[in-house]
């Protein structure tokens, strides 16, 4: 399996290298869908220039990257393009290895459940075989590396790629079962962009499952393990934040990075829902709605944990998708991360209801984003409502895509336990509804 992966990596690197040298690189770097105030490359360069001038990069409102990025690019600024290509390759390789391991776990679990007779007798077509699962890791790596969103994100040198790499390593560490590394990478991911805090729950559930600890609130071993994992996570986070303090000898980065993410003062348009909402908000309600929108990101974690406690990796996928849709400054790089997981659930294809229309919506919206931006900002013949409308449609498309996969997943689980051919009491074919 290594050879096809290497081939895919080579193709991806070639595509990126060609684009770096073309005139499209400047155009892509300027696009607001790809570069947001949090992760634009122009702002990283500006922050380093301010540091050279002797002014703290956090004294203004331009630079919102963590001190880790300053550390990293202070030495590597000459090789920035290489750094971003390497991060993309690392993400793809980490996802490949993670999904390979995950497939083994899925297959083992399926075998166990079949032997325990938990499945209904007529579900042979739903059982997954190693043959069909063989190419899934390669497809995941392919989906990530050759996704136009990822390519554009890399060519624009958006630091979202670095965030994706950290999350990919976190997923790899979790699936391999190493609690320590998982906690460290999760702390790093939270430190970079705050929202991966919600991935604590799926990681914990997966590690508990792997250790065969039952998830019961009264169980002592459950609480013991949870406390251990939480302590590892919090200690790593504290250590990383203290190391950041020593870079510039000030705590200025906390309001500049986390205060900025949470209070959303910069209303630069992006593909998310926040910017226009707060541009048109009455001043009186501004704080209330900021709180509501931020709570909305963290709010789905507990219900999803209760519903999906047997399937933590799917939980992780849904959680990453929710973060990408509802975070304060989303970019297409975040979207590319959860889209890389779609081949893992390719066996759900027969239960997806709206996949055709949703993919059309997403493709058309992606194409319309630059058109309507040009009409608003450059041609002056449209106004901000046009771009906002496409933002709304794109987000609805993403939301319905994720909920469609969720529906298909739950439906397959129902069929596995209750049988594929359902009959009503009078023997006729039955319909399945959510009630």
């Amino acid at each position: 399996m290594a050879a096809p992966l290497v081939l895919v990596v080579l193709v991806a690197v070639t595509v990126r290298a060609v684009l770096y040298r073309s005139s499209l690189a400047a155009f892509i770097s300027e696009r607001v869908e790809v570069a947001s105030p949090l992760n634009a490359w122009k702002r990283v360069v500006e922050g380093l220039a301010l540091l050279d001038l002797g002014v703290s990069p956090y004294s203004g409102a331009i630079f919102h990257e963590t001190p880790l990025i300053i550390y990293l690019f202070h030495f590597l600024i000459e090789y920035a393009e290489l750094v971003f290509m390497i991060t993309d390759v690392l993400t793809a390789v980490a996802l490949y290895l993670a999904i390979q391991d995950f497939n083994k776990v899925v297959f083992k679990k399926q075998k166990l459940l079949i032997e325990l007779d938990k499945y209904a007798p007529d579900v042979a077509e739903l059982i997954r075989t190693p043959m069909e699962m063989h190419y899934i890791p390669l497809k995941v790596a392919l989906f990530y590396l050759l996704n136009p969103y990822t390519v554009m994100s890399c060519v624009a040198k958006s630091t979202c790629a670095i965030n994706n790499t950290v999350i990919a390593f976190f997923i790899l560490a979790t699936i391999k079962g190493s609690a320590f590394l998982s906690a460290v990478f999760l702390a790093l991911a939270t430190y970079q962009s705050l929202y991966p805090l919600t991935l604590f729950a799926p990681a914990l559930l997966y590690l508990l499952q792997r250790q065969f600890i039952p998830i019961k609130l009264k169980s002592k071993s459950f609480w013991l393990y949870t406390m251990q994992y939480a302590a590892l996570y919090l200690c790593s986070l504290v250590v990383i934040i203290c190391l950041s303090f020593f870079l510039l000898n000030s705590w200025d980065f906390i309001p500049s990075v986390y205060g900025f993410i949470l209070s959303v003062p910069d209303l630069t348009p992006n593909i998310g829902l926040f910017w226009y909402f707060f541009a048109e908000m009455f001043e009186h309600f501004s704080l209330f709605f900021v709180c509501v929108f931020q709570i909305n990101v963290f709010f789905y974690t507990i219900p999803l944990a209760i519903k999906l406690k047997e399937h933590p990796v799917f939980f992780m996928f849904v959680q990453i998708a929710i973060i990408s849709i509802f975070k304060s400054y989303p970019t297409v790089g975040d979207v590319a991360l959860y889209m890389a997981f779609l081949p893992v659930w390719s066996h759900l294809y027969r239960f997806l209801r709206n996949i055709f229309i949703l993919s059309c919506v997403l493709i058309v919206c992606s194409l319309l984003f630059p058109v309507l931006w040009h009409l608003w900002i450059y041609a002056g013949s449209a106004n901000s409502n046009f771009y906002y409308a496409i933002t709304l449609t794109f987000n609805i498309g993403q939301i319905l895509l994720v909920s469609d996969y969720f529906y298909a997943f739950l439906r397959r689980e129902y069929y596995l336990t209750h049988g594929l051919h359902l009959t009503r009491q009078d023997g006729t074919e039955a319909m399945l509804v959510l009630k």
Partner: protein, 576 residues
């Protein structure tokens, strides 16, 4: 008995004389300078200087005579060391009109040095701008932290100063401020004679605002009382510069007179003034022939070196009794003897231009061009730029190019902006080589503001205040050290340390920049639509999380279905 009558007189005179020793002496000098400009326009600069030998900071001063009480109380109460306020309408075209005597940026400019005893400078600044807003009927109360900066090098104190901790300095410009009669009236009221006698009778609003450039300013500063500088006096200068141009005020003809410019003539001097003079610039432009003919013929001619150039002035002393002998009013008339030659247009040694380039509403670039036309001398210039926070400057894109090569500034002070709290401040010391053009460019990004932060006419654009260039320009002719008291007022505002250069402060054009606007009619719609999208997600997830799959049981149907079946049975159609 005579002695008895004389004694009270002597007694009365005695304490009077002793009282005169205790009384603070104040003096008013007023002066009008008329300078013809190359294109046939004429500039008139009024200066009224009240000097008061009292220390406003110490000792409760309660008896105000010539010095206006409003300003005196302000200086004493808020611990002001120096105050400079200018309200300007129009722009001084340095390239066409030459170096200005005293320039001010378009709009309202206020810069103040506070005493070191002031503990909370920001609070004093806010109070000061509000009080001045009331005194001058100008919207100076809009000065807040988003348009105030603390320059470190450009604005040194012009009066006596003990130390220069620049944390005591505040500078703000309101580029959008308009100047009108409402601002002129309180300014005139501060003059000792008001607008009833002396040179101030010429200040009539209907003529003054019908001009290309109108600038009125107030400068308060402490000065040395005498050459030994053991005591401090306070000086209040009120200056008003107005440029009348040939076509709008002059009806196309280039002959000017006081009556034509101000629709008034001078009848007497202000009785409270110790000096009242009118100067007319009659410097010959190419050293052979005189350009200008002035009537009535001047009593005396004064030569001075002003801004590095030797100039000749015709002087009319309004206090001399011989002036009003022939006629009761003085109407100075200027006639050009020969037509203006375009080759005689003087190029000022230092001038600058600024403009915005770029297209679209996302990014742009501010370019400043600084010209040094001196043939062989290079000199440094300090450039101060204040850019509002919503134009996000990228200092890594700052490039300074002179004659095709990069020119690195020897001093840069950059303070980045904070959203909604303070503007960008960029101060640089740039060396200008002789006979060169320096181009300074910096790129910016335009921010989208909240809908309430736009002005009622958002598509007009947002103003960026003028940038300030301060330089010691080398002069062609060496200037002698002059006695500040004896020299005319128009040469003595800026202190000069040596005779080989003179201080110039220039302002560039203000800029007008468009920002992308949201749709202002949409707040409810946007809130509803965005909340709908969030609700779609919430609804789908709620359904999937709280409901489970069930096999659908056929229901007997609701009431509507049963009614429909009954009707169908009557019609003979199979039931639902």
């Amino acid at each position: 008995m005579l002695a008895a009558l004389l004694l009270p007189l002597l007694l009365a005179a005695g304490p009077g004389r002793a009282g005169a020793g205790r009384e603070r002496r104040d003096a008013l000098r007023e002066e009008l300078l008329l300078s013809p400009l190359p294109a046939g326009d004429v500039a008139a600069t009024f200066q009224f200087r009240t000097r008061w030998d009292a220390d406003l900071q110490r000792g409760a001063v309660s008896h105000y005579r010539l010095f206006p009480k409003a300003l005196g109380r302000l200086v004493a109460a808020l611990g002001v060391r120096e105050l400079h306020l200018a309200l300007t309408q129009g722009f001084w075209r340095t390239q066409a009109w030459g170096q200005p005597p005293l320039q001010a940026p378009a709009g309202a400019e206020l810069w103040v040095w506070f005493q070191p005893t002031v503990t909370d400078v920001d609070k004093a600044w806010k109070e000061l701008s509000n009080i001045l807003s009331g005194i001058f009927c100008a919207s100076l109360n809009f000065i807040d932290s988003t348009n105030t900066v603390t320059p470190t090098a450009s604005f040194k104190p012009l009066g006596l100063a003990n130390g220069t901790d620049h944390h005591l300095l505040r500078y703000a410009v309101l580029p959008r401020e308009v100047v009108c009669t409402e601002n002129l009236t309180p300014w005139k009221k501060l003059l000792p004679c008001g607008s009833k006698a002396g040179l101030a009778v010429l200040l009539k609003a209907e003529r003054l605002f019908h001009s290309s450039y109108h600038s009125q300013a107030v400068h308060i500063r402490p000065v040395c009382r005498d050459a030994s500088c053991l005591a401090v006096s306070w000086e209040l200068r009120q200056t008003l510069t107005v440029v009348f141009d040939t076509f709008s005020s002059g009806q196309g003809k280039k002959d000017w007179s006081l009556f034509k410019m101000f629709s008034r003539t001078l009848t007497d001097a202000c009785p409270l003034a110790s000096q009242s003079k009118v100067y007319v610039d009659i410097s010959p432009k190419n050293k052979e022939k005189e350009l200008l003919e002035v009537t009535p013929p001047p009593v005396s001619v004064h030569e001075a070196i002003v801004q590095g150039d030797k100039r000749t002035y015709a002087v009319y002393d309004l206090l001399s009794p011989s002036l009003f002998n022939t006629s009761r009013s003085l109407n100075v008339q200027l006639k050009w003897k020969r037509p203006q030659d375009s080759s005689e247009l003087p190029t000022p040694v230092l001038h600058a231009q600024r403009y915005v380039s770029g297209y679209g509403l996302q990014t742009g670039e501010i370019s400043t061009l600084i010209y040094n036309t001196h043939p062989y001398r290079a000199f440094p210039v300090i450039l101060l730029e204040t850019v509002p926070w919503y134009l996000r400057l990228y200092v890594h894109t700052l490039t300074i190019v002179t004659k095709g090569k990069e020119n690195k500034p020897s001093y840069i002070h950059y303070q980045p902006a904070q959203d909604r709290r303070r503007p960008h401040l960029l101060e640089m010391l740039i060396q200008l080589p002789a006979n060169s053009v320096t181009k300074i460019t910096i790129q910016f990004e335009r921010a989208l503001l909240k809908w309430t932060e736009y002005t009622p006419d958002p598509n007009h654009g947002f103003y960026v205040s003028s940038s300030v260039l301060s330089a010691l320009v080398p002069s062609v002719i060496a200037m002698k050290d002059m006695d500040v008291e004896q020299s005319p007022l128009f040469t003595s505002l800026f202190p000069s340390s040596d005779g080989s250069s003179y201080f110039v402060r220039l302002y560039t054009e203000p800029l007008l920049v468009n920002l992308p606007t949201p749709d202002f009619s949409m707040p409810y719609n946007v809130i509803c639509l965005t909340c709908t999208v969030v609700a779609v997600c919430y609804g789908s997830f709620y359904n999937l999380l709280t409901r489970t799959f069930h096999v659908e049981e056929p229901s007997r149907g609701g009431l509507a279905k049963r009614l429909a079946n009954i009707i169908r049975k009557f019609r003979g159609v199979p039931p639902l």
